[in-house]
Symmetry: C2
Subunit: 213 residues, 2 copies
């Protein structure tokens, strides 16, 4: 299956690799069918043997990027001490949030690829968005919410709202700092704000439970 002059060998993988590399430096806008073909040393039309078109190509790349996000979250998650389950849940929410945000800072191009608006955000629920940790970014947060439900801190009915709350704050902050007006914040301030964001989420979740009691 080696490169035999005419056949490439593993063009699909080569294209995906080139795509991630392009997105890493230039964001999703930098991913074009023709450019990837050029990098892979192949005619543009060859791309269509492996992908339906530009949209599917970007979708597939977004899945890969999302799995990287999930793994970044996993890294933070692993640092949470696993003694008390209730305390772990709080720590896990903060950790997944921080992991998400940090990934956005470290790999803005890939982050924008992963959570590119208009279609790819829903890919976050796609099976194929799982990382090496075996979970999608969303499932990483759900892990923490599961713990809260388990401990009785949250009811099943409140889960959906709690999830929306957490994602909104974290994703919003990530977006604003990566490509928004908060882009020019220095690293230290940014970190401090990020901590406050996840603390706000914790308060918000507690309040979800509070309105019930």
């Amino acid at each position: 299956m080696a490169r035999s002059g005419y056949f490439h060998g593993d063009l699909r993988r080569a294209l995906l690799d080139a795509g991630l590399e392009a997105a890493r430096s230039d964001g999703p806008e930098g991913v074009s069918v023709r450019e990837l073909a050029r990098v892979a040393g192949v005619a543009p039309s060859a791309v269509y043997r492996h992908f339906e078109g530009h949209d599917e190509l970007l979708f597939e790349l977004a899945l890969r990027a999302q799995s990287m996000v999930a793994d970044a979250m996993e890294t933070e998650l692993a640092l949470v001490p696993s003694g008390d389950r209730r305390a772990w849940a709080d720590g896990a929410i903060a950790a997944t949030g921080i992991g998400y945000i940090r990934f956005a800072w470290q790999e803005p191009g890939l982050f924008r690829l992963a959570f590119r608006t208009r279609g790819d955000l829903e890919a976050a629920h796609d099976e194929r968005g799982r990382g090496a940790c075996g979970r999608t970014p969303y499932e990483q947060l759900e892990l923490a919410l599961d713990a809260l439900v388990e401990v009785g801190e949250l009811t099943e009915q409140e889960r959906a709202g709690a999830e929306a709350l957490a994602w909104s704050a974290v994703h919003g902050f990530a977006v604003l700092t990566v490509e928004g007006p908060l882009r020019s914040l220095d690293a230290q301030t940014r970190e401090a704000f990020a901590v406050r964001i996840v603390e706000m989420v914790r308060l918000g979740l507690a309040q979800c439970a509070g309105t019930r009691a």
Copy 2:
């Protein structure tokens, strides 16, 4: 200045109007130089007599859309009873947030145009993004923060963080419901979540002050 066969009369305005209309139905992706020229009944090259290029055209349109957001926020803001200044501040934060989110729901195309990633989000601070109410969307929120500072609920140092907090949650929720995984939420649930978002923001702001005391 009427249409005289050769000259258009007010091409710039016609192009902006066509652009807003295109964005309203198809989002910012639907705004192309050639398409707007077509609608205005003019050659594509004529557009360049009035705009530097596609980017500036979209930027200018984003400013218009943002001024509409500011006015939508103003509408909600006007409903806040102006008795106690402290209570007003709380109400104002919720109102501006809700106004922002509601605009996103009512005009998803224009919302995406206004806060399109990669460049336009910073236009939110541009003078020309002011609406009929005389303020930009950001300044609408700042109005509420001003009140909090005035009442002594927030220090000047805490303001930047407080603003980031509020925008992150509100913008994040708007994005997720307009073009994200929360898109399919029914109107009632959406409203309930929106209320919880702004309540979370209120808690977050209170906590900003709380860490100081």
